[in-house]
């Protein structure tokens, strides 16, 4: 009888541990998918979590619906050997669409690529994926628009060209 009680107790404990394990595992899976859904809009585009509040610092009227406001630049500069570029890349808060920003040289070399930027989000400076030798380059910020839907649809795009000066 004592042996039977001990066995039952053991079974109960093991079952309890198994159930607890299942509960903890399920909670972890739920948490993972919830975070994944918040971040992900579809299999190949993501909301950029590294972007911070961004103001174009240019007062403009709220556009009519059906328009995208795209920032433009004259010039930017940086030092050779460094990767940080002071270039204010972002999505004006007046927009009702995502913008994805790609900074590239005129030969197509991509220097920086953001994920989807929400309206009012952007960067005060960006980190390039490579250093550049001293010189003057023609560059652009390729702004690709996406709708604010659950599965963002591609909209029109605009390239904002500027002169990039890299000093020794």
């Amino acid at each position: 009888m004592n042996r039977s009680k001990k066995v039952n107790k053991r079974i109960l404990i093991i079952t309890g541990i198994l159930i607890l394990g299942i509960i903890l595992l399920s909670a972890a899976v739920i948490l993972y998918f919830r975070q994944s859904e918040e971040r992900q809009t579809d299999s190949s585009a993501y909301i950029d979590e590294n972007a911070s509040d961004w103001d174009s610092q240019i007062d403009s009227e709220e556009p009519e619906t059906g328009k995208m406001l795209i920032p433009g630049y004259s010039s930017a500069s940086m030092k050779s050997g460094e990767t940080m570029l002071k270039l204010r890349v972002g999505n004006p808060e007046e927009n009702s669409c995502y913008l994805k920003a790609t900074v590239q040289l005129e030969d197509g070399t991509v220097l920086f690529e953001s994920d989807l930027l929400k309206p009012g989000k952007g960067f005060e400076e960006i980190e390039l994926n490579q250093t550049l030798e001293a010189g003057t380059y023609q560059a652009m910020v390729h702004y690709q628009g996406y709708s604010l839907e659950e599965n963002p649809q591609e909209l029109n795009s605009m390239d904002s060209a500027f002169t990039l000066t890299v000093t020794p």
Binding site: I30, D42, I58, G72, N156, D159
Partner: protein
């Protein structure tokens, strides 16, 4: 018996939790990335000064153009569907004398062999089908494609001041469907425009 009930209730709760993730996980759909514009050889240079790297102008462009439901005409005559589009210099700041914010446009799928603005069949039923449309400057009534072709497209406008606006008319002639076997054309079409902006000297623009 009591232990059995506790066991059953706990097991039921655990099983309920394991079902939830399957319900919450959602399928993702593919999103094609926009094409990247090509090289440019027409550029302007503005002397570096205050606010390097800052936003110096903001241009607004149409986010998309929807021609809606197209209809096959009964006769072989022009039957355009038109839409309005506006390109506007929302803000222009610190532009040097003799320079403008030039905005160009081209079809995102344009190639050496075809510069036309077009929408392309997206479904299996209309795969390979294209419908061409025109973009006209409302003020001059000029078809953009009849103007100078710059490396980054056709000139929409050269803006000097905040508020400068170019109104455009986009026209798709449904006559392209006249006499066609509609089942080969039915479905969704899509096209995107690629705009390009840069600070240019007036002398570099025709």
């Amino acid at each position: 018996m009591r232990k059995k009930r506790i066991f059953s209730a706990a097991l039921a709760a655990a099983l309920a939790l394991t079902v939830v993730p399957a319900v919450q996980a959602s399928a993702s759909s593919e999103l094609t990335n926009g094409s990247v514009s090509g090289d440019t050889s027409i550029t302007g240079h503005v002397s570096a000064g205050e606010g390097i790297g800052n936003v110096t102008y903001v241009v607004s462009i149409p986010d998309k153009i929807d021609f809606g439901e197209l209809v096959q005409p009964d006769t072989n005559s022009s039957d355009p569907v038109t839409r309005a589009g506006t390109v506007k210099a929302e803000i222009v700041e610190s532009l040097p004398e003799g320079y403008r914010v030039a905005v160009f446009v081209k079809d995102a799928a344009a190639s050496e062999s075809s510069k036309d603005f077009r929408i392309i069949g997206q479904d299996s039923t209309n795969k390979g089908k294209e419908l061409i449309y025109t973009i006209t400057n409302e003020a001059s009534q000029a078809n953009l494609l009849t103007g100078t072709e710059y490396p980054n497209g056709y000139l929409v406008g050269a803006f000097q001041n905040t508020g400068d606006t170019v109104n455009l008319t986009l026209a798709l002639d449904q006559n392209q469907l006249y006499g066609e076997y509609l089942s080969n054309w039915a479905g969704n079409y899509k096209g995107t425009l690629n705009f390009y902006s840069s600070v240019e000297s007036v002398g570099s623009l025709n």
